[in-house]
């Protein structure tokens, strides 16, 4: 955990008071709605279909139990008793009153939580691997760098009014859980031949109506230079990114229009011209931030404790363990994923009661720490293996032990037409119906790893392009239709999915998905061949034939 010091605390309190003034000026009419819109967006406040929506940052997905309890408090006190975890390590509250927003923000600031730059055309919340610092085989904890970048990008005096939003994600593991290739800047921590730590820098990824997978702009930027290099990218983008058309304003379009070589050259020239502007991170600076991270005092524990051996006789426990428990870098400990995808529920939602209870469990079993992943699930990052059986029982009672992590019902979905003013179609009810269709956990196990991503419109908040199966809601003659793609993925081998056939009406979506899964089961080489690998091996055609033959 990163511990805020007096300076961090002062800054977020100053931001709260500024926002309070902005809301006051809006309520008094001193600010027009047009003026206020930009200001509220800088602080995560959207106007949705029914009310203001408030998006709060969970930088690089790390939360303390105290912070999670405060989310529960905000949900209860200012909202309708629940919150929604998003695909970018944020939490959203859907029913907040404008006049109460400054108070909600002040309550959050007390525990070091803010909503700065969770929307608007600025540098958004920096995201990272939800297993950062605990995943085996990591180069080093990417959150040190995430925090350095979080600070550098917060209230940046030059880049707070960019052509469009700008998202940075960081990973330090071989397997990319942070989806860095679909970010404006993706950073992959690695060591060069001399053993020096630095970053592969990728640029120009993003989904939306013109999706692109990010391209490598520089294979190695030493850690000490990462801020100045990011600054150079941003300066080129701020000056040359398009501002005439909101749909062409992301950096991915600039990179695409210039070509990666030309863009890289522009950035390099700017980087060289910058010279020393105080952005070089020397060893002391990095250690200063590193020293503010605290790590648990792990015990020396056996790899296979008796509690675990005994619990292995319980098939329900075993199913959950195999699905939700992952290897930890420290012997005797595990990372536990908490599914926020119950059968029939909206993906990513958690009630105030659940948040409070998870905070208690984190205190009891995970050194008070919780993680949030882009798949819209939570994780307890430091659970002693001997505690797994007790934790399972507690989670099961809370409805947080659905054994479907990474399986067909672990669906990513945007809020869709039920909440969002941009949506063309509903997302949540599609997800809910699919979780009912695949409610049988044996079937889901048999299918294996399969990510379904659903977006209610072309803006792609549900990351449909990179779902193994992607579902995109569109509007056709006033009716909800859905385009279905297959073969997408968001990891280190990121790829955009391919359209499988004509769009289908709302009522048929679940049938088509079932048919796609049936086709895969029939076509796969062996049970271990994952859905995406079958699609990669065979292409879309054989699956299309089977699914659309009778349609």
């Amino acid at each position: 955990m990163y511990a805020y010091d007096e300076l961090d605390r002062t800054l977020i309190n100053e931001r709260v008071s500024e926002f309070r003034d902005q809301v006051k000026r809006r309520l008094s009419g001193e600010l027009t709605e047009d003026e206020f819109k930009i200001l509220r967006l800088q602080n995560g406040v959207y106007l949705q279909l029914h009310a203001y929506m408030f998006r709060v940052a969970i930088p690089y997905g790390t939360l303390s139990s105290k912070q999670l309890r405060r989310f529960a408090h905000v949900a209860r006190r200012y909202d309708r008793g629940y919150g929604h975890f998003t695909t970018r390590q944020n939490i959203q509250f859907n029913w907040i009153k404008l006049a109460e927003l400054p108070d909600a923000l002040a309550d959050l600031a007390e525990v070091g939580i803010h909503a700065m730059q969770t929307s608007g055309n600025n540098m958004r919340n920096v995201t990272s691997d939800q297993w950062a610092g605990v995943a085996p085989g990591e180069i080093e904890d990417p959150r040190i760098w995430s925090e350095l970048i979080r600070q550098h990008t917060t209230l940046h005096p030059e880049f707070s009014f960019l052509p469009r939003k700008f998202k940075i994600a960081i990973t330090a593991a071989e397997h990319d859980r942070a989806a860095i290739k679909i970010h404006d800047i993706g950073l992959r921590l690695h060591k060069n031949a001399d053993g020096e730590t630095g970053f592969e820098v990728l640029v120009g990824g993003g989904l939306g109506r013109t999706p692109f997978i990010a391209k490598t702009i520089k294979p190695f930027v030493p850690g000490r230079d990462i801020l100045s290099y990011i600054e150079a990218i941003l300066r080129v983008y701020n000056q040359y990114g398009r501002r005439d058309n909101i749909y062409k304003a992301r950096i991915k379009i600039l990179v695409h229009e210039l070509g990666i070589e030309k863009f890289a050259k522009e950035v390099d020239e700017e980087w060289k011209a910058m010279g020393d502007v105080g952005l070089t991170l020397d060893h002391t600076a990095i250690e200063e931030v590193r020293s503010r991270f605290s790590y648990p005092a792990y015990e020396k524990l056996p790899h296979m404790p008796d509690e675990l051996k005994q619990a292995a006789h319980d098939p329900l426990f075993e199913r959950w363990r195999k699905n939700s428990v992952s290897a930890h870098k420290v012997q005797g400990y595990s990372i536990v994923t908490l599914s926020l995808k119950p059968v029939g529920g909206p993906p990513g939602d958690a009630s105030a009661e659940q948040m409070d209870a998870v905070a208690d469990l984190a205190d009891k079993y995970s050194f008070g720490e919780i993680r949030v992943g882009h798949e819209q699930n939570l994780a307890l990052p430091h659970v002693a293996k001997r505690d797994l059986p007790a934790l399972f029982k507690a989670l099961d009672r809370l409805g947080l032990a659905t054994p479907n992590v990474n399986l067909v019902t672990d669906i990513i979905a945007c809020p869709g037409l039920d909440y969002c003013s941009l949506a063309n179609a509903r997302s949540i009810p599609i997800a809910q119906e699919l979780t009912r269709r695949f409610a049988n956990h044996d079937t889901a196990d048999l299918i294996g790893r399969l990510h379904i991503n659903i977006s209610g419109c072309i803006n792609a908040c549900g990351h449909h392009h990179v779902g193994h199966i992607g579902i995109l809601g569109v509007e056709k003659n006033g009716e909800e239709f859905y385009q279905i793609t297959i073969g997408g993925r968001a990891d280190e081998n990121a790829q955009l999915g391919t359209l499988i056939g004509p769009a289908v009406p709302y009522a048929e979506v679940a049938d088509v998905i079932e048919d796609i899964v049936e086709a895969y089961l029939a076509l796969r080489d062996r049970p271990e061949e994952l859905f995406v690998d079958t699609v990669k091996r065979l292409g879309v055609e054989p699956i299309r034939e089977r699914v659309y033959a009778t349609r």
């Binding site: 300076l7 961090d8 800054l11 003026e35 005096p157 030059e158 009014f161 701020n238 501002r243 502007v277």
Partner: protein, 171 residues
Amino acid sequence: MPLVKQGRLTTDLFVHVADGAELPGDGAVLVTAERFLADPEALLRRTGKVGVIWPNNRNLDDLVPHLDRVASVALVFPTFRDGRAYSQARLLRERYGYDGELRATGQILRDQFVFMTRAGFDAFEVKKDADADAFAATMKRYSVFYQPTGDGRVTALNRRMQLRHSESAGQ
């Protein structure tokens, strides 16, 4: 329109002169980049200061050779959503060493004062009187800054390291 300069409401000594309009015999003028570049020498020969209004989509290269002779550079925010002039401002101050008046024009609200000051602006054509009146108070709003810029404010990281240094020196 109220002008805030060096933190205070001030009378604007510069007259905006439209392209094609006749130049006053003396007194300070602000002219467009086109007009300035068409004949900089003639303009600079006048008695009276000359400032240039530089559009936010024009490269600074043509302006740089004249920086030591212009009294003001006015950068433009067509809407306050358009942040290109922040980069221009920092380049003028930090890369090209410009130390004359750097003026923010266009849609200027109090909510940008801190950003603009940090980027190097020291004069502001503020849209609303209430915002101009609130300048001093607004500038006091923030006391912690994460990024180094040419304004010289000490960053949070440097303050921490200084603190650490003085703590360890005291031991």
